[in-house]
Amino acid sequence: MRIMIGRIQLAKIGGWFDRRLQLAAPIREMAEHPVPRNTASWWYVFGSAALTIFVLQIVTGILLALVYVPSAAEAWSSLQALNHDVALGWFIRAMHGWGSNFMVAVVLIHMVQVFLFGAYKFPRELTWIVGVFLLLMTLGMAFSGQVLRFDQDAYWGLGIGASIASRVPILGPAIVKLMLGGPIIAGATLSRFFALHVFVIPGLLIGFVCLHLLMVLKLGINEWPMPGRIVRRATYEAEYHTLTKNDGAPFVPYAVWKDMFFSAFIILAVLACALFFGPFGPTGRPDPTIIQTVPKPDYFFLWLYALLSLLPPSLETPALLIGPVVVIVGLLLLPFLSGEGEKSWKRRPIAVLTVSLIAITLGTFTQLAGYTPWSPHMNAWSSDPIPDQYVHDSTALERQGALVFQVKQCRNCHSLGNTGGQRGPALDSVAVRLTQDQLIRQVIQGGGNMPAYGKNLTPAETTALVAFLQTLHPKGQAPALDASRDMALSDEKAPGAKP
């Protein structure tokens, strides 16, 4: 009886509000709008999951802002305080950091899904375009968030960003100063990235998410693509209408439960990662005079780090400046270039190949950036000794050469016995590849991306070094030999021998 009265009271209060707000009917209509039955699929949950993480990011972001100080002088210490002094500060930081990784991942998966399901085709072109901007903003949030974690990586990451921006013809220096808020990376830089990360981009994101959702509601969710069901501008809308009428079901509760399950799962996944792996950094203090640092970007920019190391120097500026424009314009033009036709990935081999190629490329670059074979190992020369077997049974000259090899930091770029840098080739069997003369030439003149050591080695050091290098060949495999060398040497000696 009491419950009954309580319910009636509640209904009265609800009625009072709705008489003024008049929102109940449109919300009910929105929730119960019919969707094609087969879209109630686990493939259709990524959009709502991205929205869920975005809300989580807003909540954890506001919590962090309660303690974080956006000042170059204080930011690092306030992060330390969050990590160590504020109750659960480390956990909120970890959730925000992992939430950011999850958000980028889920947004990318969502994009791949709508691409492969042909959802960008007529009449959902604008939904796709708004989605492309949402992706860019998500990446913008990821980069600016990395800057707010104002540590060494953030500082030098900004330097890399500025160096890229400075390559823009004519406007470059102005863009750099605009980006940094002055001539160097300093207090003004952090403040403007704070404004971007906390006000500008989130504001735009909220607006664009609303637009994106509005269009999904107005135009209806993309139906499950059937091979052979061709999209035509003239007939599509009528066909979709018939489909939802004949084979539709109300979104709530028919499809929504899967979205809800997946959203809850994603939140729990973020929580689990935060709990097990903890927060990201901050790494060392953002002190530019500490140069013993190996800056690295966050996970989702690692592929770029690899690309910038592997591009030939002459291609780099064009690739950096034109590449992003081509990619963004391509994504924006996609719905206009193929706005009609097949939706099913089963009939779109090029689409499937494109996605696979991009995924494999980005995956490979990311994997490479995990162990950076292109970077010299700055400490290899002093920390990785030459393995015993390479100096066993060797002559005094060869041992002297091994010493030169170590002291002149050859190890920073060349590995022996799988230790040392990977910038240059491994030298375990270099004697098989290069003859004595070729070794001398390579050491003194460099070339093939190796610096010339001529000015930094005395003739005696070169002789010793090359003698050592000549011992580097597998057992049972003879070192390379110049067949004409003996002949040439004997010819040289011949005139001298006569008298």
């Binding site: 001539p183 970077s375 050859c410 460099g446 050591y453």
Partner: protein, 189 residues
Amino acid sequence: MDTKPALAESTDTTISRRGFLMKLGILFNALAATILAVPIMGFLFSAITRGRANGYLSWVPLGKVSEFPEGETRLATFQNPYAMPTDGMTVGTACWVRRVAGEQFQVFAINCAHLGCPVRWFPQSGLFMCPCHGGAYYRDGSRASGPPERGLFEYPYKIESGLIIIQAGELPTPGAAIARLGEKPSCAS
């Protein structure tokens, strides 16, 4: 009754009083927006335009000449001349000072000419190496290998009353004023 002829009239060439006032209102707002844009843009772009003549560059001391042994390359630090109270430790900057001989110096920016990571000096092999993308430079700052397209950036320097002073204050990037100052005219060498 009166409104009908008035509406019909307004679709003609003549402009109604209200239509005129609305257009005037739009014009008035456009004027206000234009005036408002001046301080907004001025503030936004002030980072670029501030101190245009010499930019942000000024002469800062690195230390006594005697602190730098001849023939060696040493790390030096200086305070950025254009500083704000909130800059904290970012106001400091490091650079490599090579004393070639006597009063002849080379002062290299710490930032790799590729993408700005801090290069480290290895006296044993006479190379500057970059930890990021593998750029390497010889002791005179010229490019040795890797992705950089040019040598290290050099700060202009002068020696006054036993102090070495450099012209600094801007992040050395390929387009920055410092990079242009550091360039030697091609006929000089």
